[in-house]
Symmetry: C2
Subunit: 192 residues, 2 copies
DNA sequence: TGTACATCAGTGAACGCGCGTTCACTGATGTAC
DNA sequence: TGTACATCAGTGAACGCGCGTTCACTGATGTAC
């Protein structure tokens, strides 16, 4: 794929990929239209053929993060079991640890979910596995309201742990995986 | 305090205050040495008499946020009770909701706690009330390790809820205060 | 199968801007005698 | 109490930079006939 063609072929995807890489290696401040165009080997203005402005590109990058997270959340394991919930929690934490800048970007702004439809969809895709897993764990007798509270309890705990760990605000001893498992098991056990 | 004096008098504090205000009104991107100097009515270079560089100023602003949070965390209530823990959780959430940009800044970077001593102190001040409250709730028989796990469970839940709420990732119905109380009560009840 | 031409996806130069920070300086303050 | 002078806390002009975005353009592609 190194043709010198005038037409790039898949510039949109290439920009998002370059953005994802740059985000992780140099942080969110490094994300710029010019630098991404440079990395993809294209004129700054070429990006504007695919994104209305910088904000649109950044949003698309965050969106791709949500999609990756949603994909990783499909854990092959009997749904409804405690082990299933724990496995999903681990996926979430592992994602945050492996891609801290992306994780930060995804939750950085109150990205107006109404305005950016695709973003909203991607985020929902990430939300659904959690919801379904909790619903399965609580059993068919739990109504939607109970499921929602369960989701919030679990998600808050996992997200909070991940966020605090990334920002180095947790006591040292807490950052090893076993501590995470211990904490999550307690949360999960208390869910029903 | 509107003297036209050559010497400002308390430039350092004025810059931090202006930064706090600007942060909340215009977001973290708006924080700049030049703009803050402008707002305080001083030459851009004057700020460098008090801060080595921009990073130092921003860190000082985040630090002031931690101090404000720590101060607000001194809840007048019998320590050790569930109500005390719930009240502290509310303080945390209220802080995040009232000052979302500050909250974001405080946890934005893995602010190298070793490098910036004052920052580390301020963050510790914010941590201690939580720790003490959990220790009181668990009683004197709980060893330090047990307390730590309790702190992580509570803090993760509160922080995660706050972070998710600020980024608009929670289901709508979950954002009202009653839902928060419900969730936190469940967490607190399951602590011991 | 061949060609005209509309459309698509880039180029390239330029703009105005605000930023962090440098440098050399000067007015205000406070302390030693 | 008065004054010399070191130090402190600002000024003011300038730098170089990278950015987002504008404008007018041109080469490549693919479709209609």
């Amino acid at each position: 794929m190194e043709s010198q063609a005038f037409h790039h072929g898949n510039l949109r995807a290439a920009l998002i990929d370059a953005g994802t890489a740059l985000l992780e290696s140099d942080g969110p401040h490094a994300l710029s239209m010019r630098e991404l165009a440079r990395r993809v080997g294209v004129t700054p203005m070429a990006a504007y053929r695919h994104f209305a402005d910088k904000d649109a590109l950044v949003t698309a990058i965050a969106e791709s993060g949500f999609r990756a997270l949603a994909e990783a959340s499909h854990v092959a394991m009997p749904p409804g079991s405690d082990a299933h919930l724990l496995a999903m929690a681990r996926v979430y934490l592992d994602f945050a640890v492996a891609r801290p800048a992306m994780f930060g970007l995804m939750f950085a702004e109150p990205l107006d979910m109404g305005r950016v439809a695709a973003m909203s969809d991607a985020a929902s895709d990430a939300y659904r596995p959690i919801r379904d897993a909790v619903a399965a764990a609580l059993g068919p007798r739990a109504d939607e309201d109970k499921v929602m509270v369960g989701v919030i309890r679990l998600w808050s705990a996992v997200h909070g742990y991940a966020a605090l760990r990334l920002s180095n605000r947790l006591p040292r001893a807490a950052t090893v995986r076993d501590r995470f498992d211990e904490v999550m098991e307690a949360v999960i056990a208390s869910l029903r």
